[in-house]
């Protein structure tokens, strides 16, 4: 253990050059570790580093202090080039007490050698129990081979302000900025954004703390890391997935977000509630999720462009209306920010468990478009695409994101919004005489839809089986024809899609298939194995319904195909199942049925994102296993 304060650093510490580094700030809830973590991420992005910032959130609203349950903060992974996942173990952790640090240890966020900057004041706490806990922890940390530096966090903060809980985060930020050579004047800009309304004085007092931390670290800490960055040419925005979705929604011309609060989807509407009125729309908070989608469907029927956003339990409630939207062909974008299921499950945690229910959740045949962005950029872009597809294919479109996206922040190129994205679905000129409201094209299944107000377009939308005139019809042939038309639309879209791009070699031993927010981690794992010479590639599906074409051909070029997903499957090696009963991961299930390829899977439900190192280990294990069983 190093006693940081007591070890004057040599004047010139030569920075260690690193490709990427993972930094965490953890504190009790309310001590502001989240704020400074975000600022650190934003400043790094501004300087041109790749960055991924993810929140550490306690399960309770006001958890007890100095408790594992109360850990609150941020993990920031920065790198020379783009960073697309939260990485493996942390390289450096700033902890405001040893208990919150334990919550990170519990989830495996640390490794041997991790540098810990730990508030030192607990050693002299008036409560004996606290002193003991702290001493025991220090001993334990030494055994775990962490590099601990004690920080006089509160003591130094108190030199500048009277309530250290309102400032030690800034001082700590200063320390970390010194370690990573961050430009602290860039912090000013971030603080100005944050405290715009609260006035210059607050910004200044915070900057003073940052500077103080910075100077202290320069004098007392022998730690310097350099993550080379190149200033960007194009403007970037730093957003989490929910913000990207919200911005994408506005750019898509969506003017109504009809929702009911649910974690982790709510923050999409929090931002939209503030922003939509500024761009000419509003958020409707309905009395429940059923009403939320019903209201959105009403909007869409009336020619306006709505969305609804929710998570697992809310999706369940929307099932009936979703089927109506499919049956009556009402365009609608539904965003499902997936969380841990089933039932209330793990409300704040990540899972990819809603794929099969998105495809097959509704009684009866309800073909619809299902998309899953796999990057932050796609979170934005897919909203625009989804709205376009919804209108063109006259159908609901489900966009599946997840809690990993919701809380993970990343710099992405600033999108250029164009006016035609906003265009209303239709003008109100007269409906073409004699064209039926469901004039299903015999090849594509597509039809144009009339909007109330359009002369000559009058029709009565119904969820009953209906003919081209939207008249209720009980005839066998009519029912078959309507079903066929709706099914054809998916085939039509599928014909317009390109096969997905394989990441890595086009053929080899193992192909890893994924979808959604795991992309960054899976590709990083695959790249590590490739560097070692393994013939592993990966491919990501962004369209799940219809599925992108050409999969069988791609799969055929690999000896073995498997998916990696964050949802439940019976393990390949589990004793309780056999080939007859094994329950596969959700994408694997789809791929098996569609391609008849023996697609294996490795999936887990840890409630946290899959780290690249974890995936790497499992892929390595699979490679060995396949080698044993198949050669």
């Amino acid at each position: 253990m190093k006693e940081a304060g007591a070890t004057p650093a040599s004047d010139v510490v030569v920075p260690v050059d690193v490709k990427q580094h993972i930094v965490e700030f953890v504190s009790d809830s309310g001590e502001g570790a989240q704020t400074v973590g975000q600022i650190f991420g934003a400043v790094s992005a501004k300087m041109g580093n790749g960055a991924w910032t993810v929140e550490i959130i306690p399960a309770e609203v006001e958890p007890p202090r100095r408790s594992r349950a109360g850990a609150s903060g941020n993990r920031i992974r920065i790198g020379r080039s783009e960073i697309r996942n939260a990485g493996d173990a942390a390289d450096l952790v700033v902890a405001f007490n040893e208990q919150v640090l334990y919550s990170r240890i519990d989830v495996g966020a640390l490794r041997e050698g991790t540098i810990i900057l730990l508030e030192s004041k607990w050693a002299t706490d008036p409560r004996q129990s606290v002193r003991q806990e702290f001493a025991a922890a220090l001993e334990d940390f030494e055994q775990r081979k962490y590099q601990v530096y004690q920080l006089p966090l509160e003591a130094e903060t108190l030199k500048l302000i009277s309530d250290p809980r309102r400032g030690k985060n800034m001082w700590a930020l200063g320390v970390v900025c010194a370690i990573y050579g961050r430009d602290i004047e860039k912090i000013r800009g971030e603080l100005a954004k944050k405290f715009a309304r609260k006035g210059e004085a607050l910004i200044e007092s915070n900057m003073a703390l940052v500077r103080a931390g910075h100077s202290w670290a320069e004098e007392n800490l022998p730690l310097r890391f350099q993550v080379i960055s190149e200033p960007r040419e194009k403007p970037m925005i730093v957003v989490n997935g929910n913000q990207a979705v919200a911005l994408g929604a506005m750019a898509a011309g969506i003017e109504v977000c009809s929702m009911y609060p649910i974690t982790p989807a709510t923050s999409v509407s929090h931002y939209l509630a503030a922003a939509l009125p500024r761009v000419g729309g509003f958020v409707h908070q309905a009395e429940d999720e059923i009403s939320a989608i019903g209201f959105a469907i009403g909007c869409s029927y009336a020619g306006k462009t709505p969305m609804t956003v929710t998570s697992g339990p809310g999706m369940a409630l929307k099932t009936e209306f979703l089927a109506l939207a499919v049956m009556a062909e009402v365009p609608l974008v539904i965003v499902n920010v997936q969380r841990g299921g089933p039932s209330t499950g793990l409300p704040t945690r990540v899972e990819q468990g809603d794929l099969l229910s998105a495809l097959f959740g509704e009684p009866g045949d309800a073909p619809k478009i299902v998309m899953a962005p796999s990057t932050h950029e796609e979170c934005f872009d897919f909203m625009v695409t989804a709205r376009k597809l919804a209108e063109t294919f006259r159908t609901p479109v489900i966009v599946l994101t997840d809690a990993n996206f919701a809380t993970g922040q990343q710099p992405i190129p600033r999108p250029v919004v164009t006016e035609d994205w906003l265009a209303p679905p239709f003008d109100q000129s007269d409906w073409v005489d004699g064209v039926a409201p469901y004039d299903w094209d015999p090849v594509t299944g597509l039809s144009a839809r009339p909007i109330p107000g359009q002369l000559g377009g009058k029709y009565v939308l119904t969820g009953l089986a209906h003919d081209e005139q939207s008249h209720v019809a009980y005839e066998s042939e009519t029912n078959q024809r309507g079903m066929e038309a709706r099914s054809k639309k998916l085939a039509t879209l599928q014909r317009s899609l390109k096969p997905p791009t394989v990441h890595g070699e086009q053929e080899g031993e193992l192909l890893v298939v994924g979808w959604g927010s795991t992309r960054g981690a899976i590709e990083e794992a695959v790249d590590r194995l490739r560097e070692e010479g393994h013939k592993v590639s990966s491919v990501f599906l962004r369209f799940l319904s219809p599925m992108e074409p050409g999969l069988r051909q791609i799969f055929a070029r690999f000896r073995k195909v498997m998916t990696v997903e964050i949802n439940y499957s019976d393990d390949l090696e589990a004793a309780h199942t056999n080939e007859d009963s094994r329950r596969y991961a959700q994408l694997a299930w789809l791929l098996r049925a569609q391609t008849l390829v023996d697609v294996d899977c490795w999936s887990r439900v840890p409630g946290i994102p899959l780290a690249p190192g974890v995936i790497e280990r499992e892929l390595r294990h699979r490679l060995e296993l396949y080698a044993q069983t198949e050669r």
Binding site: V238, E287, C299, D427
Partner: protein
């Protein structure tokens, strides 16, 4: 598939509408069903007010009564059981130009639709709402509805319904922002028409409970009420539903009632010795959520793109 014109303004057209312009498919209700009279009344109302059929939307749920839109020659939305209200509210949200009628049944509104009904009353968005209350589930063949009388036989309560009926009027009066509650009967065309007219003119959520005959499943219940007009209590007031001689001749049991008198409204609504018909309650000061929802409707595409860019500025590093 994307349009060109941004606004929904309609060039003025010189058109005159006759009753046939509002008639859709042939109504398939049972002979003598009260829904027929309500349909006729709504069609006459449209004609009298010369509502453009393409600017008129009839939203309903599922039930005998909810087949209503098919029999109108306007836009219609025959949605899900119990869910007419959210759809109608959504249609209204960004379309102040449309005439909206919402048609629902006692099961549709007061059972499966309860939550949406309560909250739609509170949202108080401008529309005319018709509750076709036949005290039974008609379409699914005679199950107890919340408004079915206690002891009444039904297929789910062959021993008689165990509970006294829910009173939709009393329920609504307890909801903040409730702005217009009227009651009428399908078999008095004069009073029905006058009530619909008043409701249509109301600036907000105008709710009309229509006692509706179901001769198929509940002949007795309705016969009694129809045969004895003294069972109806006609509410009169300058602010209320205007009544003419024809109406007054039949409905001799009358009382003055100021529809802004909240407690009196409660008292009347709760009466079970008579059926009060007329305007039970009106609150012209209720807040309107549709006015809130329509903000920003006038923004041009350029303004919107500029505004979105300002949003992106917030995230730009």
């Amino acid at each position: 598939m994307y349009g060109l014109k941004q606004d929904w303004a309609l060039e003025p057209r010189l058109r005159h509408f006759v009753i046939e312009d509002y008639q859709g498919l042939t109504a398939r209700w049972c002979p003598g069903c009260g829904d027929h009279s309500v349909l006729g009344a709504v069609q006459r109302l449209c004609r009298d007010l010369q509502l453009a059929p393409e600017k008129t939307v009839v939203v309903s749920g599922i039930g005998c009564s909810s087949r209503f839109p098919h029999y109108m020659n306007t836009y219609g939305f025959h949605g899900l059981h119990g869910r007419a209200m959210p759809v109608a509210c959504g249609v209204r949200a960004r379309r102040p130009d449309l005439n909206i009628f919402t048609v629902t049944g006692d099961g549709d509104c007061c059972a499966i639709g309860t939550a949406h009904w309560i909250h739609a009353v509170r949202y108080n968005m401008k529309m005319t709402v018709l509750l076709l209350d036949n005290n039974i589930y008609g379409l699914t063949k005679m199950q107890t509805s919340p408004t079915t009388g206690r002891g009444q036989f039904s297929n789910t309560h062959p021993g008689g319904a165990p509970l006294s009926p829910l009173n939709p009027l009393s329920v609504m009066l307890g909801i903040t922002n409730c702005s217009f509650v009227a009651q009428t009967v399908d078999w008095n065309p004069g009073h029905l028409m006058a009530t619909l007219r008043k409701a249509f003119d109301h600036d907000g959520f105008a709710f009309v409970r229509i006692r509706q005959r179901c001769p198929h499943y509940m002949p007795k219940v309705w016969d009694e009420l129809i045969k004895d007009p003294s069972k109806l209590l006609l509410l009169q007031h300058p602010e209320g539903i205007p009544t003419d001689d024809a109406v007054e001749r039949v409905l001799s049991n009358r009382v003055e009632h100021d529809p802004t008198d909240y407690l009196r409204a409660h008292e009347l609504a709760a009466r079970d010795d008579v059926v009060p018909v007329g305007l039970i309650y009106k609150n012209p000061n209720a807040e309107r959520y549709d006015l809130y929802a329509q903000k920003g409707l006038e923004m041009s595409p350029e303004e919107r793109v500029a505004a979105i860019n300002r949003e992106l500025d917030r995230f730009t590093v």
